[in-house]
Assembly symmetry: C2
Homo-oligomer: 255 residues x 2
């Protein structure tokens, strides 16, 4: 049985709370947030606090707050030599104040209040300063998913950057697509089969090999007609920068 204290009141903390409450191997003993009102409604299920000096003795302290607040909160902890981990993709292990033993417990997923989270499908990326702590984090992670990876801070930072391209940026392209199809009075649903095929083919074919479209064909007149159609200068910029990159990757330099 692993005793956990959760610190933070945002999306990640809420999703962790919901999951921790379901796992028999772990015991969530306390939930801290600077503003206690954000978590007050759970106080019948779990002791909540907004005072760091009241934190209970636990096996792992999980700090799920914004990247810039990790260092401050870890420095303000009123104890030392405990295992304190953060949940951030782009934050070095060393940001945690060295008076405690540092670790990382990074779920590679995009969290929002609306989305239901299926933890068993989510990779958990772990790091710790010592072997025994890593074992604790592995025990915790394996109670949530089979996809557990030991990843150092440098690699994790690359993973976070990659996730921005394949998730945040892709989502924004879908958002632009939604705007364009609304302008043309086309239901966006019409594109779902196309989108699904692209995602599905990722599992069998490298995306470089399945690239299609006007840029890779060197189809200058289609590219020009598309740029003419785009009204938003930022959409034009995106169109041009990705087109240049496709051409550069696939070598249609004459275009």
């Amino acid at each position: 049985m692993l005793k956990i204290v959760l610190l933070g009141g945002g999306n990640v903390a809420h999703h962790l709370f919901a999951q921790f409450s379901k796992i028999p191997e772990i015991e969530l003993i306390q939930w801290y947030n600077r503003s206690v009102s954000a978590i007050q409604k759970f106080d019948s299920i779990i002791p909540v606090t907004n005072k760091l000096e009241n934190l209970k003795q636990a096996d792992v302290y999980i700090i799920a707050v914004s990247d810039t607040a990790i260092h401050e909160i870890s420095s303000s902890l009123p104890f030392k030599d405990q295992l304190v981990v953060h949940t951030s993709g782009n934050t070095d292990l060393k940001v945690i104040d060295p008076k405690n033993r540092a670790g990382v417990f990074y779920p590679l997923q995009s969290f929002s209040k609306e989305k239901q989270i299926h933890w068993n499908e989510i990779p958990l990326l772990l790091e710790a300063t010592n072997e025994k702590d890593l074992e604790k984090l592995q025990f915790l992670a394996k109670s949530m998913t089979d996809k557990v990876y030991l990843i150092n801070s440098k690699q994790r930072s690359s993973i976070h950057l990659t996730a921005v391209f394949v998730n945040n940026f892709v989502n924004h392209l879908y958002s632009i697509g939604t705007d364009l199809s609304e302008q043309a009075q086309i239901p966006f649903d019409i594109f779902i089969p196309l989108i699904k095929q692209t995602t599905k083919s990722l599992e069998t074919t490298p995306s470089k090999a399945s690239q299609t479209g006007p840029a890779i064909r060197g189809d200058k007149s289609t590219i020009e007609s598309h740029l003419d159609q785009l009204k938003d200068p930022l959409h034009k910029e995106i169109y041009k920068s990705i087109t240049r990159s496709i051409i550069n990757t696939h070598g249609r330099e004459k275009l």
Copy 2:
């Protein structure tokens, strides 16, 4: 029974040939390509030719060639007053020489030799100059899929542009993601659950509402650290242009 002559020897033509051969309601009576060698191996199943003057009498002539070749091939046809359709997303109906009755039979999908095509999942976008021809195309399309749409040339051009954003560009972002993860010695598979969640949530939540990431959070230090990590100037350009567009869409103007 609808008699069809297929013109062209590329990916779309090959996938149409494979499907037409399976449908009882239609009879593919001939396959033309300028270079007959590309389709010669099918001559035991279907008469092939490289001579337009030898084309047989059919109900529909389907021109599945590159966009720039549609006009030329339609002008060179040795007959008139027949239904001649092209399969292009970004090409006006009027590109077909007016000596014949024009139509469009555009499958909204990305075709490559490697990919298996499930026609029943693919929207078919139809257009024709007259009602009777449109009925013929509808008969043909409905023998292949339930997703049949009547779409004019202007809307079709918007759809093609949107498809470039949500398919070709998204695929290139996956390709960049693959490069970045290879550089960090991370298996790209680790990102598949994240990618799948984004695609899945499209069906329930507008992508604008599910945007996450450093740009929408106004997280300047993460954005700077990502730009530092990117070595390829074109990747930097893409990062900047999409980031600017996310900020513009979601109103973090102070960034």
